[in-house]
Amino acid sequence: MGTLKTFLILTLAFIIGIIPNTDVNLSGYEIGDLATDFSLPNIDGKMVSLADYKNAEGFLVIFTCNTCPYAVAYEDRIIALDNKFKEKGVPVIAINPNNPEVKAGDSFEAMKERAQEKGFTFPYLLDDGQKIFPQYGATRTPHVYLLEKTEDGNVVRYIGAIDDNYQDESQVKVKYVENAVDAMLSGQPIEPAMTKAIGCSIKV
């Protein structure tokens, strides 16, 4: 038993030891990485940066778009997330990563129309020049990054899907993003910190 315990402790120390060293960024952010800020055009004509939100505790940066069936299926739930967490200091910042020249339905004009139709309560930014989504490592829409504002910068705390059932909100068993924000705000570990989902590939 003593040997097993030592082994486990050593293994754990090893794991803890190597995590901070894995910030080599070949395919986007991993949990614990610092996320870049940006200055992107919002549908109201203004530029938006994370730094504008002086009192935020963190951000739900969500790569989403007009045209993907999964993104559309999640629109109401993204609005609900913003309504729930904005007042707790974690607003939704939606970014459309698609190239409007490839996907006409994702033009800046079309984004304005969709936001108005659905009554988006959050900024809906165009990843102008498609420079931001590759740094985050977003590969599909919708793709969520939960960031925590710290003295060092905005730290990535959760990457992945909104919940475990895109089809039917009433059948959702695990609300990944809600659980992650609640855990972050109460200083608890986030589990799971990464989830996977089928989504629409980002149009470049």
Partner: protein
């Protein structure tokens, strides 16, 4: 000493996490067992599976080589590579190659989009529908590095198994397939 106590706490935490995760998985598995794994739909003529239902199709050991392509009618790059998949299948069928086209179209699209699309394009690959919304559960089971993007293709036979999270051209697909056919 303080460090050791912290470690023990972390260990306890990890162990309890693992336990609860296992329970969750069991629950999911049980729920899946109680459902029919292959549903029937009178207007859609393709088999409709959840992950458990489709799993045998991803693990056949009958001497054939399977190209299993994950696609959807709303996925433009998927539609673009389909003709290449079909062409390679037509050419290599006699060499024991099978093509399985796993549609990830949503239930509302089956009748309106998927059925007409398959008919219009006269697809010869075996079309099946994977309808399992708990994606975080099954995506890593197909390939642990799959981020969830489509098109994605699994090529396998009894000896070899490779997963590609990307689209293929005709030449690229032939090149990869040849590694399986020797």
């Amino acid at each position: 000493m303080k460090f050791l106590i912290q470690l023990v706490f972390i260990l306890l935490f990890i162990t309890s996490c693992n336990n609860s995760k296992k329970n969750d998985q069991d629950e999911v598995a049980n729920a899946a067992d109680s459902n029919q794994t292959q549903k029937t739909n009178t207007t859609v003529n393709f088999p409709i599976y959840d992950y458990e239902g489709i799993e045998p199709l991803l693990n056949k050991a009958d001497g054939k080589t399977y190209i299993v392509n994950f696609w959807a009618t709303w996925c433009k790059p998927c539609i673009e590579e389909l003709p290449f998949l079909e062409k390679v299948y037509a050419e290599q069928k006699s060499n024991g190659v099978e093509l399985v086209l796993v549609s990830l179209d949503m239930p509302t699209m089956w009748e309106k989009r998927l059925v007409p699309f398959v008919k219009k394009n006269d697809l010869k690959g075996k079309v099946v529908i994977l309808d399992d919304p708990n994606m975080n559960e099954w995506i890593p089971k197909i390939d642990e590095d799959w981020g969830g993007g489509i098109p994605a293709t699994l090529i396998y036979n009894s000896n070899k198994r490779t997963f590609f999270e990307r689209g293929f051209t005709y030449n690229e697909l032939n090149e990869e397939l040849n590694k399986f056919l020797n």
